[in-house]
């Protein structure tokens, strides 16, 4: 393994998305873009805390969530590894098809003269109005 971490996280403190979800998104995104591959080891919590200013509990929680999603697997004493995810990962992170749908939607919007900024705004409000609620 090289000295470089497999993934470098970043945190948007002004985001309304909870920090641990931001980490989950970043792992899932990196996996989709092919920057994280099956068998890669995620940096340890200690390493993440050294990298960026983040609460270790947040990293723990993100890794647990990723485990729950089936994207990674914690191996006792070894670390957290990206695993074969085709079967176990949930729809949102598994299928590539939603990207195609999104691409179509963007193309459609552009063809009807909507600017990119407005598309982003529209998407944001769409996402937030869909925000799930925990009680």
């Amino acid at each position: 393994m090289s000295n470089h971490p497999t993934i470098v996280f970043h945190l948007d403190t002004r985001s309304d998305r909870p920090p641990f979800r931001q980490l989950v998104d970043q792992v899932a995104g990196a996996f989709e873009r092919g920057q994280l591959r099956v068998g890669d080891q995620l940096p340890s919590v200690r390493e993440v805390v050294r990298q960026i200013t983040i609460n270790p509990n947040t990293v723990h929680r993100a890794y647990r969530e990723l485990e729950h999603l089936g994207l990674v697997e914690g191996r006792l004493g070894l670390g957290t590894f990206v695993v074969e995810a085709v079967e176990s990962a949930p729809r949102e992170y598994r299928a590539q098809s939603w990207r195609d749908t999104l691409r179509e939607g963007v193309a459609q919007a552009r063809s009807s003269g909507v600017g990119d900024d407005d598309i982003v705004l529209g998407l944001q409000s769409l996402l937030s109005s869909d925000a799930e609620v925990r009680s």
Binding site: D16, P18, I54, N57
Partner: protein, 305 residues
């Protein structure tokens, strides 16, 4: 949650000074292993609370327990397990930094000189320089090194980043998380910089006008608050179980920041997630009108089913 998991628990804690009440019947708890933020405007009672927790003063009324034991000015065993950074960063001005560390070593059983020297050398603070010759930021770092080198299980920080430039501030928050990751410790950090909270804290206590208005897990806070918007003429009542904290009106639309007690039924409302900043400010504003949010708006929400 059992009492064993709490590092801090206060029960109707009240602290009165000669002229004013600094804390008024504050009941709060902080679970073990958290970085908790104590948020509130100046004069809200943050410093008073921290001094009570550090064993520097005693409550006028109510109980205060740390690690499940009654904290008092006399409890040395408990104080040995608590690190405290005062907002004035008191240090002996004519001592050398090395002597300040020697002071800590002689007065604390679990002192970690190596940590302190490592921390200070990384910041290029000469151990031979005198405290009075240091800059405000450097002095804050020395005080912080003393606080951390004590290896406390509970760390109380009063505005730890206040005298620091942005880079040092970021580094300091980073140091806190690193130290926290290394130890089995818990942190309670008073701050009015809400961005710091979102960066490293996972538990929030909001103090306003001497009262606790919120004491909860940060994720839970983020998940249980929403902006609800609708047209002015829609006439849709505020959903059941939602407590209005803040109301914003435009010519055609009204937006509520609400606290949710149960999953939301989304009929006719546009829903958005607030940031912690927005939630915190709503709580602090609400207190300025000095009406307890829960009772007043809770009834309103119940009365319009």
């Amino acid at each position: 949650m059992t009492g064993d998991d709490l590092v801090i628990e206060t029960e109707a804690l009240t602290k009165r000074f000669r002229r004013r009440t600094a804390l008024n019947e504050c009941s709060l708890s902080v679970p073990r292993g958290r970085i908790a933020a104590l948020v509130g405007p100046n004069g809200a009672g943050k410093t008073t609370l921290l001094r009570l927790l550090a064993g520097l003063s005693k409550p006028s009324e109510g109980g205060i327990s740390v690690f499940g034991k009654e904290m008092s000015t006399m409890n040395v065993e408990l104080r040995a397990r608590v690190g405290y950074l005062d907002q004035d960063r008191p240090l002996y001005p004519w001592w050398r930094v090395r002597e300040i560390l020697e002071f800590g070593r002689r007065i604390n059983p679990a002192w970690d000189t190596e940590f302190a020297t490592r921390h200070l050398s990384r910041l290029d603070i000469d151990l031979e320089s005198r405290v009075r010759d240091l800059s405000g930021g450097q002095r804050a770092q020395v005080a912080l090194a003393v606080c951390f080198a004590k290896r406390p299980e509970l760390i109380l920080l009063d505005e730890p980043a206040s005298a620091l430039d942005p880079v040092a501030r970021q580094d300091l928050l980073h140091d806190i998380t690193e130290l926290f990751a290394d130890n089995e410790s818990s942190v309670l950090m008073a701050t009015h910089a809400i961005d710091d909270v979102a960066a490293i804290c996972d538990y929030v206590i909001i103090l306003s006008q001497s009262r606790v208005v919120l004491s909860e897990d940060l994720d839970y806070v983020l998940e249980s608050h929403r902006f609800l918007s609708r047209g002015l003429d829609d006439g849709v009542p505020v959903p059941r179980g939602a407590t209005v904290l803040q109301e914003l009106r435009t010519t055609r639309e009204v937006t509520y920041l609400v606290r949710l007690a149960m999953p939301l039924e989304r009929d006719g409302w546009r829903i958005e997630r607030p940031t912690f900043n927005e939630i915190a400010i709503a709580y602090l504003r609400d207190q300025h009108r000095s009406t307890p949010a829960k009772s007043e708006f809770g009834e309103e929400a119940g009365a319009t089913p």
